[in-house]
Amino acid sequence: MNDATLAPGEREMHWGLRSLLVLTLVYVFLVGVSLLESGVKVMGADTQQRLFEGVSNPVAGLFVGILGTVLVQSSSASTSVIVGIVASGALGVDDAVPMIMGANIGTTVTNTLVSLGSIRQSEEFKRAFAAATVHDFFNVIAVAILLPVELITGWLSGTAEWISEQLVGSAGVEFDSPIKKWVKEPVGWIKDIVADLGAETNVLGTTMVLIGLMVVLLALTFITKNMRKLVADRIERSLNAMLGKGGGTVAILLGIVITVAVQSSSITTSIMVPLAAAGVVTIHNIFPVTLGANVGTTITALLAALAAANSNSLTVGLVHTLFNVSAIVILYPIAKIREIPIRLAQGLAEIAVARQALAVAYVVTVFIVVPLVGVAIFR
């Protein structure tokens, strides 16, 4: 076939150069997380308290997590920001846990939006919408079970804290991270530049937080974009292998591997939606890949925790991983329980095909209206 996929003048970057670019972007991302942490620390204690007192209610925290993630369309970004804030000491682990769970729900909006792309072809849309919303249902059910368990027993944060202690020492202490040392210098330069412009305490802190947010979002966007190019052929090969073999535990591992590679669960799940729409894979094939994507995406917050170098931030990163692994352990092994989110998604897809406006209403209600109302009521 004709080899004319590149536009005139466009040259494909060598993989070695692209790998180097990704490593640089990871460094920039870690600088961003550290900037966030330092920015919040620079703010006065009163400002910190005012900023985060709203999320001391776990339900409000959950909804803030959903809204924040829907806004940036990436749980990797929102959880990294949460890790940075926890590292600053302005947000406690207990307050951060519901936000992390909210981020898990919020991230499912991307593939649900992708599924709306086939809204005009009813059969395709039914398959695509079910494949997308099975992720929503799984995450909502997981939160409905694990948030109360966490609030009553502190099981997730307790276990994460224990692991964190084994790894880096007692709770709340700063640990000796070489990554922290590498990112310290540029954070200092940026702080000095902003301070030289006359900014102090709250203005200086807010400016650093805003720069940090921007750096984290841009770095993650470009990491994802470049990693996707680097591993696209590998993803294609492994998905082709899946076509012949179906789902199961191996598909969960595949979801983890792809998501760790591209640093985005949204990419993994959004790749699967058109495959379901075309009928190439079934919802039963996709479901385990989606669960793997939930676990794989937690690597970013763990990476961010290394830059923060505070055991609490590592605890929060570990809570994210533990939450998603626990959800799989509870909801996946038993066939009857495993079928619940699948049946719910298929039922919703039937309704959405009959009344397409309801599909749009579902997205707006679940990802925007309910979280907004929730934050307004519970904060």
């Binding site: 004709n2 052929d233 294609e236 998905l239 082709n240 076509l243 073999k245 595949l254």
Partner: protein, 224 residues
């Protein structure tokens, strides 16, 4: 499935699809050769029938798998290769049809048609060999398409199609008895379709998508 992610691949997604398409075309050629031999050289029909049917099953399964892999390719790589992907969906369908037409030729042999002893047997053998060789050339075009050679190939395919059409017309006006003329007309007709599909395979590999299956910048429909 997971290990295939870590395995170092020698080819990109489309290169792997091209390789499988070439092997699909080789299967179609194999079926064509066997079926034509059953009619032209009096080969044992029962011996070749199983081979042709199992080869056709393999062609059909490969077509379905390749469709899935093409969807995966677009899903993963984005729309950069969309023209090629659409071209491939047309191309693998043409190859699948060649497999079906080989089965149609086998049907003639299974009906007891044997043209090995006719006065035109050398001519029929010559045409069969030409078509078979063209399939081999078409496979080469899939992996490395030279536009000039592709144009020359399409011209040869058009000439052969014209020749076969002339032979079908001759049969329609022939004074010979039906049991001699009808099998030849049917065989020429299947061969004409096969040549059109082989030409279509090369067109798909070298021409813009909107002109595929047509000649003269989209004016003449080569499917009938």
């Amino acid at each position: 499935m997971v290990m295939s992610f870590f395995r170092r691949g020698d080819s990109t997604g489309l290169e792997a699809i091209t390789a499988r398409t070439v092997s699909m075309l080789a299967d179609a050629r194999h079926s064509f050769d066997l079926a034509s031999a059953a009619v032209l050289s009096g080969a044992d029909v029962h011996t070749v029938a199983d081979d042709i049917r199992s080869t056709d099953d393999r062609i059909n399964k490969t077509e379905q798998q390749l469709r899935g892999e093409l969807v995966v390719h677009v899903s993963v790589q984005g729309s950069d290769d969309i023209g090629e992907v659409l071209g491939y969906t047309l191309l693998i369908k043409k190859i699948e049809r060649i497999g079906d037409q080989a089965k149609n030729i086998l049907d003639l042999a299974e009906e007891g048609i044997d043209l090995s002893s006719g006065p035109d047997s050398a001519e029929l053998t010559r045409i069969r060999r030409t078509i078979s060789e063209m399939m081999g050339e078409a496979a080469d075009f899939l992996s490395s398409a030279d536009p000039d050679e592709a144009t020359a190939f399409r011209e040869r395919a058009d000439t052969l199609r014209g020749e076969l059409e002339g032979k079908i017309r001759d049969c329609m006006h022939s004074e010979l008895p039906g049991h001699e003329v009808v099998p030849r007309a049917i065989l020429y007709r299947y061969w004409k379709r096969i040549v059109a599909n082989v030409g279509g395979v090369v067109t798909t590999a070298t021409e813009p998508l909107q002109h595929q299956g047509y000649l003269d910048d989209g004016e003449t429909d080569i499917d009938d």
